[in-house]
């Protein structure tokens, strides 16, 4: 068999994007894992490269320093073979060590397991307030707007020192940035607007520091305003888009799996394993994580040339039966805690993962407890899924109780 590089003149397959079930990755991933674990691929934004679908290979791509995170996020207008541009200042998810290390080390102390546990009562208070507001309203309500989105938004605003009153503005920029079919112009405009928004905040913190991460970073004197702005943009987007979608999609998934929901309600001590299982099962970073080969790399007999783009599919790796013998296609809230790829792997593994866990646990526990008769207010087929967004989930989730 001849191994060929994907080029524009040799049409390769396009990355699977069509789901037959809202909670499962596209079915083609199973075939790819079995038959073509490193596949030449055209990505939804038109770029060409390789798609890696097995659990072990995803871990390899994300932890091997021969794969660079520069140009590491899927964005409109990208294509293989371009020179790799320098990442925008402070956008450390698109940097390699040791540049990346400098930024990450400034932040890891803010997101430790202990810190996030200390934060849990504050998160629970925010959750209770959202539930009170929901209960006071006449159903049906949209769970995304009433619950799933406000919780992580309020928490990350509080942590970073962003005024929550400005949420409509930053949520709008963020939505454009993660929308797959935003034009390059729209994407760049939203990115610039988001940077402008955070830059103003950084200037304000320099004048008048408060008790939050942005002010602490200002005080550290380690970063320029441009770098601080990049860090702020990254934390704000990552801090609310992902968790909001996990909360809403998890709720929908549990409602559609009544036996699993009943098991969780009957034994709330399963919440820790349920959260890990939902993270694994739903894997909302639906198109995976992009890397660039810094040298020629051979993987499963495929020659990945220097400069090629490689996408590691987190959602596919999380359904790999070679890794998870006990039917990875099943949702099992009592599943023994096994490693998963939902937060990525390697030095870029999610900085806020302990925060995400704390938010998911607080939100799902209180929601199920408060509304024992929670149900979808529309037929499941009518729930608008986020097939068009880099972060999967639901656009709306009408519920009654």
């Amino acid at each position: 068999m001849t191994n060929t590089q994907p080029t524009k003149t040799q049409p390769s397959k396009t990355q699977p994007t069509v789901r037959s079930c809202p909670f499962d990755p596209p079915e083609e991933y199973r075939t790819l894992r079995e038959q073509e674990p490193v596949a030449p691929m055209t990505f939804p934004d038109g770029a060409a490269g390789w798609l890696v679908t097995r659990y072990d290979d995803v871990r390899t791509v994300l932890s091997d320093p021969r794969f660079s995170a520069k140009r590491g996020i899927l964005r409109p207008g990208g294509s293989e073979g371009e020179d790799i541009p320098a990442p925008p200042p402070g956008l450390f998810i698109m940097m390699d060590a040791p540049e990346h290390t400098r930024f990450r080390r400034l932040l890891t102390g803010q997101f430790t397991v202990r810190r996030m546990r200390q934060l849990t009562p504050a998160v629970e208070k925010i959750v209770a307030e959202q539930l009170n507001a929901m209960a006071a309203a006449e159903g049906p309500v949209d769970l995304v707007q009433a619950f799933a989105l406000p919780i992580p938004s309020l928490v990350i605003c509080e942590l970073l020192g962003v005024p929550y009153a400005d949420r409509e503005e930053f949520q709008r920029y963020s939505a454009t940035i993660v929308r797959l079919n935003s034009s390059l112009e729209e994407f760049q405009q939203a990115q610039a607007a988001m940077r402008g928004f955070i830059h103003q905040l950084v200037l304000a913190k320099r004048e008048n520091p408060t008790d939050d991460i942005l002010s602490e970073l200002v005080r550290s004197g380690e970063l320029t305003d441009e770098e601080l702005t990049g860090v702020g943009v990254l934390l704000l987007i990552a801090g609310h888009e992902t968790t909001a979608n996990m909360i809403a999609l998890s709720t929908m998934c549990l409602l559609q799996n009544p036996e699993q929901l009943a098991a969780l309600r009957a034994d709330p001590s399963l919440m820790d394993s349920a959260v890990e299982e939902l993270l694994r099962y739903l894997s909302v970073i639906q198109f995976g994580v992009r890397r660039t080969a810094l040298e020629d790399v051979e993987l499963h007999g495929r020659q990945i040339k220097e400069g090629s783009m490689v996408v590691a599919s987190l959602s596919s790796g999380n359904r790999d039966a070679a890794h998870l013998a006990d039917d990875p296609e099943l949702l099992d809230v009592a599943r023994a805690h096994s490693p998963h790829l939902a937060f990525g792997h390697g030095i870029h593994q999610c900085l806020g993962q302990q925060l995400a866990r704390a938010e998911m646990k607080a939100a799902l526990s209180a929601l199920l407890d408060r509304f024992p008769a929670l149900q979808l207010a529309v037929p499941v087929e009518q729930v608008p899924m986020r097939d068009d967004m880099l972060v999967y989930g639901v656009h709306e989730l009408p519920v009654t109780w």
């Binding site: 994300l62 990450r104 890891t108 803010q110 997101f111 430790t112 202990r114 490693p339 593994q349 993962q353």
Partner: protein
């Protein structure tokens, strides 16, 4: 069992603390791994192995 940790590689994800809280902790100031028990009882071997396997930065080595 002997546990080797590489602070230079650690990225402070906290996965080891979730896997084996009796053996691993994180420094408050920068989240970097702290080895609480360099020679834990044999009974904790599965958790320690799990922590090493989970570590996203491959910063934990277990010598049995």
């Amino acid at each position: 069992m002997k546990i080797l940790i590489d602070e230079g590689k650690c990225v402070g994800a906290g996965t080891c603390v979730l896997a084996a809280a009796d053996v691993f902790d994180q420094r408050d100031e920068d989240g970097i791994v702290v080895l609480l028990d360099a020679d834990p009882p044999h009974t904790s071997l599965p958790q320690v192995r799990d922590a090493a396997a989970r570590c996203p930065a491959l910063a934990i080595e277990v010598v049995e």
